[in-house]
Structure formats: structure tokens, C-alpha cells
Symmetry: C2
Subunit: 128 residues, 2 copies
């Protein structure tokens, strides 16, 4: 579960805007109460992906699209749901393909806090 | 300047893949030597934007696109170059517009490590 201290610590280092730094700072802003930086949501999502998506050579994104349809808040428990939506073999590199993965990061009620689509180069297993 | 310790610390928390965690772990991978997580590059870019882009209500991204044309490495000094490429007034909310900002994060030699385009809601100053 994400707590307020984690949200404030990430914000202090990377996204020091009032609505990410303190409850008081968030009052009267678009967020109204403390919200995590979208980059924090993205980084937490990456952690979950690294721990669960079995690509031997690693998860290396090249192009990606992100949106944050609702804020990530203290007390939320996040999960990520991923789907491979495309595999395009490379024309020039026969051992390589571009894989497109679509990911939804959802809170404990199933509401989406992040949509994230990424293209990743993936390599064949070496032939024995 | 970004150092190896910062790269490893971010990776240990959010993107624990061998090529982001240690020099040895990066050997023989697509990166060959230690490279920062792209999310670290993105977070460092956000820090620079927060410190330099003067939007009164804050930098709140909704939809965004990212690419990492080359890895961020230890020893690099990053700078961000930003351009407002579109301002579209909202039809339903007359005090609001959607601003599109295009950002390039470059290393000390001017080479681009991140392209980042973001749409942000921006509000009129209150009329007196």
C-alpha cells in the first residue's frame, strides 16, 4: 500500500509541486488533497512489471504513451494488468521483434490510475 | 551531474534490472555498461521542468508520449529544452486551455536522451 510519506519523498526529489508535497499544499488545487506524482505512479508500475513480466533480456522500452485518468492517492494498493497487443518481427534483424504491451495500473477498487502502452525490442532464444 | 550511485539507487527502488543496478550486470546486455532507468531520466526531467516552467497552477500532465533515443549514463549532465507547440482553448470551460509542450532532454554534448511531449490543462488568471 502506498502511503503519504512515500508520495512526499518521491515528490521532494523529483516533482516538488505543492499538491504532491503536503496535504495543506494540495488544498485548493486541481487535486484538492495529496496526490502522487504521475512519475511516481509510472515508477511503481515499472517495479511491478519488472517483477512479473518474463522477458529474458529485460524490459527495455523505446516509445511509449502514458495517461493518468485519475490521481494516485495515499492508501491505494496498486496492481498492473498487462496485455501483449502486437508482435512485429524486424525485417532487418531476423532474431528480433518489436513487442507492444498495453498496461493498466488499477487501484484496489479496479479504477484505472494509469494507462501505459510501450514498444519493446525482444530477442529470440539463441538456437542450441 | 548524474552519478552511478544515483542511477543504482533509483533502479533498486523502481526498476531493478541488471543493466540499471551495476556495471557488471550491464555487461553483455543491450546497454553494455551501466545505464539509468528511462523512468529516472523522466523523473530528472520533471524536476528541471518544475524548477523552470512558470505555470501558476502547476505542471499537470494528462496525456504524454515519451521516447529514449539513447541511454542516460553516469557522468552525464542533463538539460531540458522546452517549446510550447499548441494552445487549444476549451470549448466547454472558457477559462481553460490545453497546452501542448514538447521537451528534449539533452546531455552535455547536446545529444537527446529523451523526447517528451505532454498535454497540460492551463487556466486563465482570475480577473480582478
Amino acid at each position: 500500500m502506498l502511503d503519504a510519506e512515500q508520495i512526499k519523498r518521491f515528490a521532494a526529489e523529483f516533482d516538488p509541486q505543492p499538491f504532491h508535497l503536503s496535504e495543506e499544499g494540495a488544498t485548493g488545487t486541481l487535486f484538492n488533497s495529496l496526490a502522487a506524482s504521475g512519475w511516481h505512479t509510472a515508477a511503481l508500475t515499472m517495479r511491478m512489471l519488472v517483477e512479473s513480466v518474463p522477458l529474458a533480456d529485460g524490459l527495455i522500452g523505446t516509445d511509449l504513451q502514458l495517461s493518468w485518468p485519475k490521481p494516485t492517492r495515499p492508501g491505494m494498493t496498486l496492481r498492473v494488468f498487462s496485455e501483449i497487443v502486437g508482435i512485429v518481427p524486424s525485417r532487418s534483424k531476423p532474431h528480433m521483434a518489436m513487442v507492444t504491451m498495453r498496461n493498466e495500473t488499477r487501484d484496489q477498487d479496479g479504477e484505472v490510475v494509469q494507462n501505459f502502452t510501450v514498444k519493446m525490442p525482444v530477442f529470440n532464444r539463441p538456437t542450441a
